[in-house]
Amino acid sequence: MEESWLAIYEALPYLLKGSAVTIGLVAGALALGLILGIPMAINQVYGNKYIKIIISFYVWFFRGIPVLVLLFLFYFGLFVLLGLDLSAFKAGILVLGLRSAAYQSQIFRGSIQSLGEGQMLASLSLGMSKIQAIWNIILPQAIRISLPGWSNEYSIILKDSAVTYAIGLMEIMTRGKFIATRTFKPMPIYLICALIFLILTYGGVKLLSELEKKVRIPGFGNKGEGN
């Protein structure tokens, strides 16, 4: 028992460094997914036929392949083929981010469509251009509606990030495996890994639900309060 505590004590700083890598990876992937996902969603609702087909194909591709397969396909395949010498960290962000874009685009698309066409019609009838309407009217509402789904996406990517173990990225899992093998104490070490993930999931989701409360539109969701 004592040895287990000792192993944990010695492993903890090392694993926490791995957490920083994981957080960086997840933040990068979420950001990339957001930057690509929002325009994809907009074009899936308002774009022309061809762009819709291209986006649907993209979404179909990235949602239909296991993340580990994607990671290998890109890291050992495509990136090599293209002569890109990417670090495991950058490759991880790219693959998880491109994949997240597919999922995020569907979150935002659903939110945009849930607004109904009236918001766009009213904007256009004031003389706004389509782009002005999307930017000033549609997105501010759609993003609010998307927050719960986005929070879910965060917790999924966080957990999926452990697959970068397979390309040797020094994140939580890779480090955990390394120490577990060296100390012959897999149980306590992996427990700590699990605990770190739990804390990161809880913290992130909590943070996002705070944000959700902060940007909530007054009067929504408190029916029965009169007027």
Binding site: G118, Q119, G127, P218
Partner: protein, 256 residues
């Protein structure tokens, strides 16, 4: 009264079909400055489609629309310039739910007209005052009653200084006790000389405010004329029947 006024809106031979069904089969009319034109007709007769063809939210297959001598249809350039001048009020309000009443009214002034924020705020506030909602300026749509929402949406249209406002059944989504306050606002607009096209089932309102009533059925104008002509002396038996039915259905409003 409007005899010698200039024509603000001219609609000529508008056709629109959705797939197999021809929704509009050649509708034409003109609206003079200060005139209130009321459009009535059964559900599905094409009234909303007609209004949308005016500001090109729906592109007509055929026909032309002019706003103050400028053609709105078949233009290469910016339709948004015309839409600024054609206000629209929707049946289900379509207020921007993430903005307060005041921001709903000022956003067009700021984003479309490029007015500075201070001026826009002042103007928006005055429009809310005009529809009797100065105390609700900082409330969000979800905190307003249906009647208040519709009055905000009227203020939003008015703020743009439109040449004409199109109303698409502005009171149809309202509880009966809230209809009056909205009709009152529209009536006052009519009295103040605003040019308007109003689709409505409120016959009391139509009788007392309309300069002309247009009866549309199956995408065609079946009858048109002054309230007196239509109510007392309609050309078609259909018009008489429709008016009878609709008056039964919606009751007579107080001001009759």
């Amino acid at each position: 009264m409007q005899e010698d006024q200039p024509i603000v809106l001219k609609i000529e031979n508008i056709h629109k079909r959705y797939g197999e069904t021809e929704v509009l089969k050649g509708v034409s009319f003109t609206v003079k400055r200060g005139e209130t034109k009321v459009i009535i007709g059964p559900s599905g007769s094409g009234k909303s489609t007609l209004l949308r063809c005016i500001n090109q939210l729906t592109i007509p297959d055929q026909g032309r629309v002019w706003l103050e001598d400028e053609e709105v249809t078949h233009i290469k350039k910016d339709i948004n310039l015309f839409r600024q001048k054609i206000g629209m009020v929707f049946q289900d309000f379509n207020l921007f739910d993430h903005l307060t009443a005041l921001r709903n009214v000022e956003i067009g002034l700021i984003k479309v007209k490029g007015m500075n924020k201070k001026q826009a705020r002042e103007r928006a506030y005055n429009e809310l005052l005009r529809v009797g909602l100065k105390d609700q300026a900082n409330l969000y749509p979800a905190q307003l009653s249906g009647g208040q929402k519709q009055r905000v949406s009227i203020a939003r249209a008015l703020a743009m200084d439109p040449s004409v406002i199109l109303f698409d059944e502005p009171t149809s989504a309202l509880d009966p006790e809230l209809i009056g306050e909205v009709l009152e606002v529209i009536k006052n607009l009519a009295l103040s000389g605003m040019t308007m096209v109003v689709v409505t089932h409120e016959m009391g309102f139509a009788r007392s405010v309309a300069n002309e009533i247009i009866f549309i059925e199956n995408g065609m104008i079946l009858d048109q004329g002054s309230p007196y002509d239509l109510f007392i002396n309609p050309k078609h038996e259909r018009t008489k029947k429709f008016l009878y039915k609709i008056t039964e259905l919606y009751g007579k409003s107080k001001d009759e």
